[in-house]
Symmetry: C2
Subunit: 429 residues, 2 copies
Amino acid sequence: MFSCFSKSRHPRQVLVINIGDELLDGLNTNGHLTWLGEHLARRGLAISRSVVLRDNLQEIAQELRTSWGLYDVIVTTGGIGPTTDDHAREAAATALGLSLEHVPKAEAALRERFAKLGRTVSEQDLRQCYVPTGAEAVDNPRGTAPGIFLAKDERILIMLPGPKLELQPMFENEIVPRLRSCGCACQGEAYVQVRTYGIGAVPLEKIIRPLLKPGMVLTFGTHTGVVDARISSGGNGATAEELCEVARKVRDTLGPDFVCTGHACLASLVVEQLRCLEKTVAIAESCTGGLLANAFTDIPGASKVFAGSVVSYTNDAKVNILGVPECLLAQHGAVSAECAIAMATAAAEKFGSEYALSVTGYAGPGGGTEADPVGTIYFGYASPTGVWSQRVVLIGDRGQVKLRAVNTALDWMRRNLHKYRVEDLIHGS
Amino acid sequence: MFSCFSKSRHPRQVLVINIGDELLDGLNTNGHLTWLGEHLARRGLAISRSVVLRDNLQEIAQELRTSWGLYDVIVTTGGIGPTTDDHAREAAATALGLSLEHVPKAEAALRERFAKLGRTVSEQDLRQCYVPTGAEAVDNPRGTAPGIFLAKDERILIMLPGPKLELQPMFENEIVPRLRSCGCACQGEAYVQVRTYGIGAVPLEKIIRPLLKPGMVLTFGTHTGVVDARISSGGNGATAEELCEVARKVRDTLGPDFVCTGHACLASLVVEQLRCLEKTVAIAESCTGGLLANAFTDIPGASKVFAGSVVSYTNDAKVNILGVPECLLAQHGAVSAECAIAMATAAAEKFGSEYALSVTGYAGPGGGTEADPVGTIYFGYASPTGVWSQRVVLIGDRGQVKLRAVNTALDWMRRNLHKYRVEDLIHGS
């Protein structure tokens, strides 16, 4: 592989151009930017700036013309498919003063794929087999449009297909190795992320800031209760080991508010803890309405530890399916510590699980009382050693209250299982 | 109110600048762009281009300096709070050659808010009470940072706070009326959106394209089975009535593949249908793991029609909680039409509801058989007139299969309830 980059140049300037009318019209969210933001940063290529453009040949060409020379790496997404509104390929050639060259290998791959699917190849489909002179056509086993990788004048242009299921494996399997080969991406991980729960970004910063070495960069992300602190070398050459050392100190200072390093979600950590214990969990949820069960079942392999859930949205369901006593509901109401305890106990019993979580509360916008306003949630937690409840008041709209309630429940269980916690590993090192 | 815009100038050029390191580092998704994309387009202000920048004074000032004069409307999000890394306010003043002026009204509002919360006002907090000369400080009843509205040289600069719960009501309640007053936003709706299910974007385009009047613009968005076609006037002056006329013709051609006009989700339509019928629905779900129940419970007021759900993730749960016969599972397996039928019937019976939906299948990545590979889902639907099943094979990763399964189930129920469908209303007209 070629090596076009001097290793000393840090930090790289990276531009991401997302192409698609649907992103500007609010029809789709720009998930590619989020994904690339994380996966480029992990390789030491933090995005400097990003632009979203319409599927317009002139605008894309203009952007590439202006930006080429200002950035070390330019990544585009979308606009390289076969349809008449895919213009990125021509725009790149125009902007860089290159012609489009036919790649026989790409055509062979496309014809083979179409033959397998029993489809005939049209003239329009064949547009995808052309790349700007000097560029590589990057294999796309999941779709028809090959990617484009062009290294030229110490600059790199990467053009990725729009569908997520094509873009993500192409970036990981094809693009990252090429970036590493030309000395543009680091070999290991360029940052360490500390995931926390129960501490705000401001006090967290007060803990981390004094631990940083000169040049290290600290950024924060918050996700309905989860606060992530990302510590990166900032291009001053801090090693992965030095970053991990900071993370370890943060972990030791935080105690149980420390969740993990890396990107594991709360549900996957609880699933992992339960797998180690060889125990199962069941759920009885009211106001979260299935979202807590969904958090568990989003984790591949959850079936080993997740027994199931009853979404007991009505009092009748609490009584008839779970067996919560009617008199308890009449005396304390469905939104109460007593009901949360009864729900958790019933869930463990009905599903035959060792652990259970329950949630009951007011997600809003309606409901609530003077004592328990909208956002008030009671949680129940049953374990082989007993059953507990807690009350929390959460802010936000209905959707946010549901999400925060799910995270609160998962975090509570994580803390309770904490002593069995698997060794925390710094990802990738 | 002032009127700074000539009405004839169409279409407006609109730039959105989202500010925040977390957006470029993949720590948060740029939901503001999606939301503004829809809400600006509804007022005839489709976004021409969008940029994401870091919280860097020079870069923000540079962007504004370059863009001022090229766009009719510039909207920024984030960077106007009280912390030391909020630079957008100073950047705007610098870029436009204006000084920052103190707004006594804004300081009074801030002091009142802080007094209510029992917090003391710091020097740093008071930075939020300054706006570029000639700009208005826009009320922010949900937070501390006022927005900024500046009309100057036939251009408009709008600066919105970063938190979603402050940004969205400020835009709707404060910004839209100002945009209308100065002749920049249209009074009614600038597009009509036709939501469909069961027809791809390509055949849908073949139906809609011949119905468009010259100048009308057609864009598509797809969301795991839902295909949205948005028809906008494109600045050539097509009236809302003409757009609705196209939508009505599309509806009549599509038949049951037509879902609605506007933005209502499948679950809210089913909830609405059930409310009209005064009937309830229950769910028994396996591979969707709570996501189908969650789709219902995301709708405010769903408790009137949603009885509850059993997430029967294990065979034991199907037998013990739902009462699916063990011999049925032994003979046909949990992923079968027979099991789906039994689950739906049991859900209706256990929850005492008139309707029930059930889902059982292989979401992946594990599981599946030769006859029923990963992605195979069996659905059950019970109604007062009978119980049915259907088998569908869905593509995508685990998360996408779950989402598509939920949409397939909801769409199936919507079609079955179709004859009771409430009158379709064109939103906002």
